[in-house]
């Protein structure tokens, strides 16, 4: 159990690191070539994972929600309800979990290796700032790619729902889609997109921070990967809670 002081210190350092790197992005910009190169690497590496995840998450939630609706004979609402729930609640979390294992782990291992083999120090010795030339492009590409992948995955959850409903739950695609506009409001989509962005940012900043700070031998790279995975998962849950909480409160406020 790490003590509280250490934990707060780490969070503070992570925040300062992210602020500095994101500041570099806004001040110095990023070469389009480097950005596309990095995004391509991340995107291609995780495309299949994301698509599979999206389809199955949609299918799982459709089955679960169908169980509840069946007893009330309200199956015609299945498409609307399950899509809405998926997009604003569990969809982003589950897909972000998978991405953090895929994208986050890879990036912290890559940067950790660069740190312990003096590659980052060598860049310093060439008169360059590794935060600007190595970390910043990766962090930006990771954040954007994770965000886009999450949105893609969320889109595919609808397909997952449609497929499982028509072959297993006796709800035909047209029926499934017909109630989506009624249930999936602009705010659902906004929340889904907002969460996707925040989760992308979490995956990008944490994996870069932990990788960059790696010191010691090869076994430390392994430790960094594990740390990235754990910290990212916990942070995703916490952010999910905070966003849901804030949105609920605001909705209550507007309603009353």
């Amino acid at each position: 159990m790490p003590d509280l002081k250490e934990l707060m210190g780490s969070i503070g350092n992570w925040f300062l690191f992210s602020k500095r790197v994101i500041g570099l992005f806004f001040r110095e910009g990023i070469s389009r070539k480097v950005l596309i190169q990095q995004m391509y690497q991340v995107g291609v590496r995780s495309m299949v994972t994301t698509c599979v995840a999206g389809i199955f998450v949609g299918a799982i939630l459709a089955i679960q929600i169908n169980l509840q609706l069946k007893d009330f004979g309200a199956q015609s609402f299945l498409g609307g309800l399950s899509t809405s729930t998926t997009i604003r609640n569990l969809g982003p979390v589950l897909i972000a979990f998978l991405l953090s294992g895929r994208v986050g782990a890879f990036s912290s291992a890559e940067l950790g290796t660069m740190a312990i083999t003096d590659q980052l120090n060598a860049i310093r010795c060439l008169g360059l700032n590794p935060l600007a030339v190595i970390i910043m492009p990766r962090l930006v590409a990771l954040t954007i790619s994770s965000f886009l992948l999450l949105v893609l995955g969320l889109g595919l959850t609808v397909f997952g729902g449609i497929i499982i409903s028509s072959i297993y739950l006796n709800v035909n695609p047209l029926q499934f889609v017909s109630h989506i506009p009624q249930f999936v409001s602009g705010s659902s989509i906004f929340i889904g997109v907002l969460k996707s962005f925040l989760f992308g940012l979490i995956i990008g900043t944490i994996s870069c921070f932990v990788g960059y700070k790696t010191t010691g031998g090869a076994e430390e790279v392994g430790r960094s990967v594990r740390r990235t995975a754990v910290v990212t998962l916990v942070s995703i849950i916490v952010i999910d809670f905070l966003v849901s909480f804030v949105v609920e409160s605001v909705t209550q406020l507007i309603m009353s």
Partner: protein
Amino acid sequence: MLELKSITKKFANKVVLNSVNLRLQRSQILFVLGRSGVGKSVLLKTIVGLIPQDRGEVWINGEKTDPLNEEKMVTVRQKCGLVFQMPALLDSLTLQENLEFGLEGNQKSGLRKYLDWVQLSEGVLSRYPSEVSFGTQKKVSVVRTLLREPQFILFDEPTTGLDPVSREVTNQMIRNVVKESETGCVVVSHDIQSAIELANSIMLLDEGRVVFEGTPEAFRNSDQGLIRSFCKGMVVLDA
């Protein structure tokens, strides 16, 4: 001149460097010897501010460095290059791209000459670090530093892990850079024979302290226990 004044560095509670002094003029070669883990790499990284010292000062050409000021360290690192113990090339770039990374146009002129010095052919430069041998990677990392033509170069175990031929090539490269550019060289090494051949002075570190400093002759003739056991290693190597 490169000068260290009572440099002290602790990690956790372990004192790695304990009040280490060092002076090096241009065109001079100083060999730093010592057992593995004694703090030789830490010493070199302290000089260029990659690891800030706890106490003590580093002076380069009469100017005190400030390791906490990254911007000012950039000029220090232009004057004083470090060739790392590991090749430390960027895996995602070709050897050529590694050499040109952050290089100014006018600095490319020496490329052919420096490749010659380490006996590398230009053809190999289109490959990635993972596709060439460890020795080739080390040579490329040497050239990367030579191209920037610093006034001082710190070599961290340049011949460890190399075959005897490459070792001789590396030693000749050090002679060349001293003769042609009046570069001052600090060479961390386990290779006593090279030290005795090349060095103007030899320094031995043990338990964080400088336990010997003097000419190669004095080193060879010393009756200090640790030096004797170092030299015995050399005799065994010779046999």
